[in-house]
Symmetry: C2
């Protein structure tokens, strides 16, 4: 549903924010950082989990669980849904990956290690996803929650629209 093999064979020039950037470097960096944090916190970054994180970092876009599962199968891992879902659960719980509710899909965290209240911008044309920080509990929503006596634990903030690249194409 969300996307297949990425179009850039070379391994760079893939949208992160929405800017292009050298990519292969950023994947290995992020992976190393994840390893470090897991070692530090006694978390087990097993082969499947590491692979799933790597896949998401490589694609740098939202991937559905079954797209991930397909790749795992190709790499010789188990091929039943729980394999992918369990790895994703671990990665999401520990903040390495976020779920995009709107797409029922997953992206690697773009700001790992930092405090989490992520907001996403999702291009409805190409499904590219950019991550920003948000503080929804500080605005109108926070006020409404306080007034209602509702205790916010977590927020989902996802903006749908058009990314710069697709906007440019539309103009042409």
């Amino acid at each position: 549903m969300t996307s297949e093999a990425h179009p850039q064979p070379g391994g760079h020039a893939v949208p992160l924010g929405f800017e292009h950037h050298d990519h292969s470097a950023c994947v290995t960096t992020a992976l190393k950082a994840a390893e470090a944090r897991c070692a530090e916190e006694r978390l087990r970054l097993t082969p499947v989990r590491r692979k799933v994180l790597e896949l998401l970092l490589q694609d740098h876009r939202a991937l559905g669980a079954y797209a991930i599962l397909d790749r795992l199968r190709e790499e010789g891992f188990g091929s039943q849904p729980p394999v992918a879902y369990r790895a994703l659960d671990f990665l999401v719980e520990n903040g390495f990956v976020h779920k995009i509710e709107r797409l029922n899909a997953f992206v690697a965290c773009a700001h790992p290690g930092q405090s989490h209240s992520p907001a996403f911008m999702i291009c409805r044309i190409c499904d590219a996803v950019a991550e920003a920080q948000s503080a929804p509990a500080k605005g109108a929503l926070g006020a409404a929650a306080r007034a209602a006596g509702f205790q916010i634990e977590r927020t989902v903030v996802e903006a749908e629209g058009i990314c710069p690249a697709c906007a440019e194409k539309a103009d042409a």
Copy 2:
């Protein structure tokens, strides 16, 4: 998954904001308002669509498409998924109903007619849903979008936490 028959047989004292209120009146009012707006805008509020809206207004909580479908079947409407999904598509497109992405479920709009940038508070214990207004595009997210050149068309804002009623129970 989300919820079954509602616990209050009488038809009142069901959470809206999260406050209790006389309910049967509010259903008929909202239904009349919807009829009026449809007439005005040449929208066809057909029997299925009207029934789905009525069901959602009655329950005043998030219902999954298949829960709705069950009720439709009981009422003698078609019983295949597209029947429910098409009615929901219509209602969502026209702002009578909102989809709660987090729950893959639907609620009747609590502020019909007004401008739409809804935010939701979802109780993770009882699945009650309250609707508030939000303006996410005005805060940090809006700034990030402008900086990135992303055009926001729609936003999903959903806060997960504990509603007042469930917080009280937990204290006891």
